[in-house]
Amino acid sequence: MENNINIKLTAEKLNLQECYEWIQDPSCGGISIFVGTVRNTTQQKTVKKLDFTAYSPMAVKEMQQIAEKAMSQFTIKKILIHHAEGLLTIGEIPVIIAVASAHRNAAFEACQFAIDTLKESVPIWKKEYFDDGEVWVNSHP
């Protein structure tokens, strides 16, 4: 099972083509990929950049757990979860999730499950930088 899970938390730029090459498989007909990108606005304010900080060892463990849960809950063959750390500008990629399965519905469901769960449980935090300051997302006292 381990060889069917690919987890990465990295300060380097995420690479869609690399993810695709890992996930594609002759026994799979459907691949669902989610790419998160940095948006230029949030709640009507212009975002300049984002800074991602992770509690790295735990974040990797949580990502691994999400992948294992997806493998057991959905009929899928492979799952990949890559997340970036550090400063990202507009259009750059904080997260890529890719799922391969024989049939497409399971791939879509598992991919959506993985990104939803990642956003709830993986200890990664982003700070948004605006022209007039910065905030930790989801942490307004």
């Binding site: 998160g36 991602f52 900080t53 992770a54 509690y55 060892p57 735990m58 974040a59 463990k61 997340h83 904080p94 997260v95 990104i115 990642l118 956003k119 709830e120 449980s121 993986v122 200890p123 990664i124 935090w125 982003k126 700070k127 930790w136 997302v137 989801n138 942490s139 006292p141």
Partner: protein, 80 residues
Amino acid sequence: MTIKLLFFGITQDLVGNHIIDLNIENSISVVELKSELFKQYPNLNKFPNFAVAVNEQYANEETLINDKDIVAIIPPVSGG
């Protein structure tokens, strides 16, 4: 005994430190640790809505913290 406390995100800003070594007499539960933290770092009361992980796993209020444990203070995550 000594435990290592890690603060992240808004809680790191409120406490002013990323890592703190805390000396305590005996094993304590997460809920006891929390009230200790609110006492020692009154700023934390501005953002009491955080989770706690012990040795890289989410803990609940009753989880016991022992010597050499690593405890992380986890405000709402925002990855992705």
